[in-house]
Symmetry: C2
Subunit: 409 residues, 2 copies
């Protein structure tokens, strides 16, 4: 039985639920502490970057602090800080690995939990391999997190449901907004997602309880300018306010990002190149070829941090997968990622499982063909069926001065 300390880190882009997973890891380690398996849990500041500088904080003090843990679960972004570091292989950069091993030994760290997306799982893979090769007994477990929902081996990723709920709710509210006037007008909403269209697909959810977007474009299909203009024109014939949701990552047949074009020529008053996005480019396109009123809205940062409209389903699962990750490590697993499995027999429920980190680290799960309509400008019933349960349930964070309470570590 492996007894020692544990460490947890957060990595990659923030989400509204990554701190719920951190809370799950703390809760799991608190139980293990009670059972005499884990002495304390360290948090590494700014992921592996801060770990290498030994910037650790003792989270054992919070093991049974229910009020604090509950506030943490409602705090967006990564409370421990994050980083975007991708480790080189130990053949190339042995020094970094040796430094880590030294820190592991100094603090008797035997459990390593890393909450993140693709790049973070790559870190888990490399660390677990390295520890094994150097006969240092340590359990390295990855815990998934990304608003992009693009990790393989898990039904969906913690953080995605909350981002999807924000996108769906905001799109529903904007549909109410743009429909107040009788003048023909097109609104283009740009949603995050460079390689996978999951979050953009979630913009279709308002159609389950009323009007949805008129058109939806995902990066999984080639973007055809002529089809777009003709579909927008057809929608304008039906009603004056047309709303289109597009993924920031849509590309032309040439492979070039639609949003990349805007970076190539235009300069502003300071002589600096514009970095406008996909929505701005399509706004210009509609203005040029249709000529009606048009505006673009980039949903931007709130997609990954709007904790006030988090999905309760997502928050609960995010806590659960954090606890599950600790259980996997205590059971002797290393080099694995905790996963969410959908149990569909009777309604929606999930179980937590695990998958070998090797097949996960550098793979991307895109939206399958059967989830996209034939014309490539909308999603199917099957897609809505997959998405719908993930946004169910409202969170009720504590408020202070009319704003949600956040904790700072």
């Amino acid at each position: 039985m492996l007894i020692g300390n544990a460490v947890v880190g957060q990595s990659g882009g923030p989400t509204a639920a990554i701190n719920a997973t951190l809370s799950g890891v703390i809760r799991g380690c608190a139980e293990a502490h009670r059972a005499g398996r884990i002495e304390t849990l360290y948090g590494m500041r700014n992921g592996i970057d801060g770990f290498l500088q030994e910037r650790l904080v003792d989270l054992g003090e919070r093991f049974f602090d229910e009020e604090w843990l509950s506030a943490l679960e409602n705090t967006p972004a990564a409370a421990l800080g994050s980083c975007r570091k991708k480790l080189k292989s130990h053949e190339v950069d042995g020094e970094t690995y040796a430094r880590m091993l030294e820190i592991f030994k100094r603090h008797n760290i035997r459990y390593f939990f890393y909450i993140g997306g693709n790049d973070s799982m790559d870190t888990v893979l490399k660390l677990s391999d390295y520890a094994a090769a150097h006969d240092y007994e340590m359990r390295v477990v990855g815990i998934p997190k990304t608003i992009d929902n693009d990790l393989v081996a898990t039904d969906h990723t913690p953080g995605f449901g909350s981002a999807a709920k924000f996108v769906a709710t905001t799109v529903k509210e904007m549909i109410a907004d743009v429909n107040v006037y009788t003048v023909k007008a097109v609104t283009i909403v740009e949603v995050m997602g460079r390689d996978a269209g999951w979050l953009t697909a979630a913009s279709a959810l308002p159609s389950l309880s009323g009007k949805g977007p008129d058109l939806i474009y995902l990066p999984e299909r080639i973007f055809d300018e002529d089809e777009f203009i003709s579909s927008v024109g057809a929608a304008l014939e039906k009603h004056p306010a047309v709303l289109v949701c597009v993924s920031e990552g849509i590309r032309f047949a040439s492979g070039e990002y639609v949003g990349a074009g805007s970076q190539s020529g235009a300069v502003d008053v300071f002589g600096h190149k514009y970095l406008s996005g996909t929505g701005k480019v399509l706004e210009s396109l509609v203005k040029e070829r249709i000529g009606c009123k048009v505006r673009s809205v980039e949903l931007s940062l709130p997609q990954r941090c709007a904790a006030h409209i988090a999905s309760l389903t997502d928050l609960r699962e995010s806590i659960g997968v954090g606890k599950a990750g600790v259980a996997l490590a205590l059971d002797g697993n290393t080099g694995v990622m905790a996963t969410i499995e959908r149990v569909s027999a009777d309604g929606y429920s999930v179980e937590f499982g695990m998958a070998d980190i090797k097949g996960i680290a550098n793979a991307i799960k895109t939206v399958p063909e059967s989830y996209i309509n034939e014309a490539g400008n909308g999603v199917t019933e099957e897609c809505l069926g997959y998405l719908a349960p993930l946004v169910i349930g409202e969170n009720s964070p504590r408020y202070d001065h009319g704003m949600p309470v956040h904790v700072v570590i």
Copy 2:
């Protein structure tokens, strides 16, 4: 005692609370109906525009439909539709006024309620004058609404508190988000408000319960590029993640909008002029003169329609001011606007009053000098004291499929 029918319209830009005011008017008229004063209440579709086409809907059917009224109070934007029409004077366009009088007479309309901002109050003024001059007894009452909070004669405007709560909550969440990395980075948040900085000032509210924006720029002060760059630079010396909130309406000493410059020269791949805003211009400026990582976020449409994070204080007052408007008309007033008066003796409470529409129609209330700090890049304690009570309280709308329920009229 004037007995007859009533009509209500919504005008100008949407807010998260304008339907709460509509509900207040319906509730007020329902009571008047019980008292035998008002037979029924018509809703005009798309404001005065739809009224001129006699596009009316009978809202009397909803007088006592509590479930529907409650859902209406949680529905963003203008459920009756809106318009941006400003009436010409009756000397110039007598035909339009004659047409309206004809419709008033045909439906025996004796009470006219118009919910809106500046332009809408101008309509109230002209209509009440016209009716009086033509011996048609009718009570014309304006009910304030605008996220801009720029109407005079009222302590604040219905709709502003909810927009302020959205801005403050979102800024607080983004502050958590941008602080996860250790790399120097500037985030510029562009807030609505062309002539008055009230909504941008609300971005300071997170400072009451933690970290607020580093810098805040309102249109009430001239924007000085050098001061801006020097203040951003100084903030970057203190911590790596700097967040700045700016009003879309800030101007250079020349009087030119900061956001206007971007429209003058740059063209995109389609040869079309860019219409980027203030945030994009400042993003380029920081990139050019400081050279660190920088991004801009335009809060855009959700500011006026994010009903899911509406302020309960605002919603209650919005209903109250609607009811108060009906009471004013029943009491014999015409050519007035219902107002909100702050009673500050013991904590925060309000009373509803009225003001002559003449002094309101074309005036703008800007943020007073004493609410802005000396450097012109932040707000004062006095400003926070004014704003704080307006965002208190959370709404709990009904949810269906994980999204708030909206009604469609």
